[in-house]
């Protein structure tokens, strides 16, 4: 047993050391097919309306974005580089942003890309017509107009200067579509069809099985991609994904494995496995449906939050799940995040769990819900949904609440949250790409299209508006605390659980890919190569 532990420790150290010096001194090799596994299916292929890794991992390499996070420095919250633009600049008042579009870009169907395509894309994202879902529309609420003064210049004018604008543009979901496709086929065509300017050309999608792409020879980042192609293999079961890497049927899984899986892989494969780890801009939430009784009563919602012992849960669950950090509404290591002192003042984060649960029981009694029972809608994905679901049910049992679970596949889960809204309480996640707290917390606004709790809260809208317009970090921080207190404490609109922790063990021959604080970032794959 001791020997095995030592072996794992030695393997981890070696692997992490290897990662630290990743490929900087190595020159990329060309060729090969990257096989990777994806633990979820593709609800649709339209990045503008989706928010799941199940779509972004297999589909992102077909598309470009206007700007993107620097692939060489994906952990940075401020390092953005051009993708389809050659330069971008902002006016002194921060209200006008000009993007010069490259003139050497072609769509996979051979049509050249111009500023008109980028404008058409952003018109869909920012001003979608009624009935067309743009999941990140709220992120662009500051945009006043989008114009193209000439064929290769795009100008976005803002109603007010906002520090969240550029990070929002860099989001990996903002696939650039062809104006011709949007005009000819309509705004829903991209849900099932692909025509991008990304590093890879779509070859085929066998639903539930795999997505295949091949190198786009006309890719605008010259010399890239290094790979001949890739195959994104759908494998919802974690054991299958793990064995796929172990048996070298796949080289990597970009979302993340639990600690146990990492240890097993290192133990079995030693230095053939490299591990990259880091904090993850993703947290799992409990979303009470405010339109379903008794969850319209904030006392009930607060009780559910007060019952959860996050501090103890963090220590235990981090051994078996991809969650770790107890945090507030902001990515834990960010300057805008709550300190532990500030956090422990919010109901639900108190360190005295007995006091917390006594208060929870009192609130339930007061609300006439001492024998509360409900069904928890969950996503049938092992990590961390299943684990957190079981844990939460156990936590709620401790205040006398009886919960049954309904874990369904991603499609019906999304459908229930987004369209049917037929759940009582659901597990949802706030997984963002770029760490940009003011944008990231916009999910908690009642007006956000990806907020499924069905509430309206004007004071929160107003706080968010103020943060978005403020250039002063101290002021942003102060308002963020009020926002957090109202969201998690006073109103308990949403019940937070734990922040995720990303662990990516992969075959050591996969080079050029760097872990980011999000499993959505750095997935264009144009910099990935195989050292075989």
């Amino acid at each position: 047993m001791k020997l095995k532990t030592l072996k794992i420790l030695a393997g981890t150290t070696a692997a992490l050391l290897l990662t630290a010096g990743v490929a900087t001194a190595e020159s990329p090799k060309r060729g090969g097919i990257l096989n990777f596994v994806v633990g979820s299916k593709i609800p649709s292929m339209d990045g503008h309306m989706e928010g799941t890794f199940g779509m972004i991992h297999p589909i992102r390499p077909f598309y470009s974005t206007l700007i993107r996070v620097n692939p060489a420095n994906p952990s940075s919250t401020t390092d953005f580089v051009c993708d389809v633009c050659s330069s971008f600049s902002s006016s002194d008042d921060g209200k006008t942003h000009t993007f010069v579009i490259r003139q050497d870009i072609k769509f996979h169907d051979g049509e050249p890309l111009t500023a008109a395509d980028v404008k058409a894309t952003y018109d869909k994202l920012v001003f979608p017509p009624k009935g067309i879902l743009s999941l990140r529309k709220k992120f662009f609420s500051m945009v006043d107009s989008i114009t193209t003064p000439d064929k290769y210049t795009l100008v976005m004018k803002l109603k007010y200067p906002s520090p969240t604008f550029i990070p929002s543009v860099a989001m990996p979901f903002n696939f650039i579509y062809s104006k011709k496709d949007l005009d000819t086929h309509g705004y829903t065509w991209h849900q099932k069809n692909v025509n991008g300017t990304g590093a890879f050309v779509f070859v085929q999608h066998q639903p539930g099985a795999f997505v295949e792409g091949k190198r786009f020879d006309g890719y605008h980042h010259k010399g890239k991609p290094y790979l001949d192609g890739y195959k994104a293999i759908s494998a919802p079961k974690m054991a299958v994904r793990l064995q796929a890497i172990r048996g070298d049927r796949a080289a990597i899984e970009f979302r993340g494995f639990p600690p146990k899986a990492r240890d097993d892989l290192i133990s079995a494969l030693g230095d053939k496995i490299t591990v990259q780890e880091g904090d993850w801009n993703c947290s799992l939430l409990v979303t009470p449906n405010h339109k379903a009784k008794p969850f319209d009563d904030k006392r009930v919602r607060r009780a559910l939050s007060l019952a959860v012992d996050r501090w103890t849960g963090s220590k235990a669950l981090s051994k078996i799940a991809i969650v770790k950090t107890v945090g507030g509404v902001v990515f834990p290591s960010h300057p805008l995040a709550a300190t532990k002192d500030e956090l422990t003042k919010i109901p639900g984060f108190w360190t005295d769990i007995d006091k917390s649960r006594a208060e929870a029981k009192r609130l339930l009694k007061e609300a006439g819900q001492s024998n509360l029972t409900f069904t928890l809608l969950n996503r049938a994905v092992d990590q961390p949904y299943r684990i957190l679901g079981v844990w939460l049910i156990d936590q709620w049992r401790k205040i006398g609440v009886k919960v049954t679970q309904n874990a369904v596949p991603t499609g019906p889960w999304v459908d229930s949250l987004r369209k049917k809204k037929d759940y009582q309480v659901a597990i949802d996640a706030n997984c963002q790409s770029i760490v940009n707290p003011i944008v990231d917390v916009s999910k908690y606004l009642g007006s956000a299209s990806n907020n499924y709790a069905q509430y309206t809260d004007e004071p929160m809208e107003s706080m968010h508006e103020k943060m978005s317009r403020s250039g002063d970090e101290a002021e942003q921080r102060r308002i963020m605390r009020q926002f957090e207190q109202r969201l998690y404490g006073e109103e308990a609109h949403i019940i937070p659980t734990l922040w995720w922790y990303k662990i990516n063990p992969h075959r050591s021959y996969v080079k050029g890919w760097k872990i980011a604080p999000s499993h959505y970032l750095n997935q264009h794959l144009d910099q990935v190569w195989l050292d075989k």
């Binding site: 220590k315 078996i320 079981v390 049910i393 309904n406």
Partner: protein, 255 residues
């Protein structure tokens, strides 16, 4: 198994649904004779309580499936003609689907949980029982006492329920006991596929799934014990079915 299901609360050493993070993934010991799972839940207690789920689903599905099959089979044989032809063609269609595929389709339509799982397992059992029962009923239909009952003016329902059905109890009971094992296995299969009962309810298939996913190598007890429970239950009910046949089949009785 029946004792375990009935006296689960007395036999189990721990609450099967309560997490105990101080005892995560512990190997079998005096405190936890079958070890613990990743949530620190006692596997022995979960297996004992899992017998309840297995029995509830197994018995309900087997009894409902074989009883409905009995009624369908006897009715089909008794009326004959177009009723028989129609019923048999429907049965042909249902039998054409592998039971587990049919059950999967039904669960997807009805949703998850104990109720839908019982329905999903029951429906594929009906045609199997109906077909066997019909062949026995066809023979009994021709026996003079059925004609006598008809001549006395008894209604169809009375003849079917009181005069034919009791005389095909032997094949019915044999089918019933055979179905018990099948239903338990089907419940475990559906749970393993994530379509049966839901966590944290203790169910053998679900336990097998959770353990096999991540801990088959490092904590094999999380997989072995639920697997053994399923095997023993199915084996036991199959033996019971064989014994029933031996007792009820006159040809085998004296051997």
């Amino acid at each position: 198994m029946i004792s375990a299901a009935v006296f689960a609360d007395q036999i189990a050493m721990y609450n099967p649904e309560v997490n105990d993070f101080a005892a995560m993934l512990q190997a079998p010991s005096l405190d936890h004779i079958f070890g613990t799972d990743e949530f620190g839940r006692d596997i022995y207690s979960r297996i004992v309580h899992g017998a309840r789920t297995a029995m509830l689903v197994g018995f309900t599905a087997a009894i409902c499936g074989s009883t409905l099959g009995l009624l369908v089979g006897v009715t089909s044989a008794y009326f004959g003609g177009w009723v028989d032809i129609t019923v048999q063609r429907v049965i042909d269609v249902l039998i054409a689907f592998p039971s587990i595929i049919l059950a999967l389709a039904i669960v997807i339509i009805l949703g998850r949980g104990v109720g839908p799982v019982i329905v999903a397992i029951t429906i594929p059992l009906i045609p199997n029982c109906a077909r066997v029962v019909r062949s026995s009923a066809l023979a009994i239909r021709e026996i003079p006492y059925v004609d006598a009952a008809r001549a006395m003016g008894f209604g169809h329902a009375r003849i079917v329920l009181r005069h034919i059905s009791p005389n095909i109890m032997a094949p019915y009971l044999i089918m019933l006991t055979t179905f018990l094992g099948q239903a338990i296995l089907a419940e475990a299969s559906l749970s393993y596929l994530g379509l049966g009962v839901q966590e944290p309810t203790p169910a053998w298939g679900l336990m097998l799934k959770s353990g096999a996913e991540e801990y088959a190598e490092s904590a094999p007890w999380a997989v072995i014990f639920p697997g053994v429970a399923i095997s023993l239950a199915v084996f036991g009910f199959n033996l019971f079915g064989d014994a029933m046949r031996d007792v009820l089949d006159p040809k085998l009785r004296d051997r």
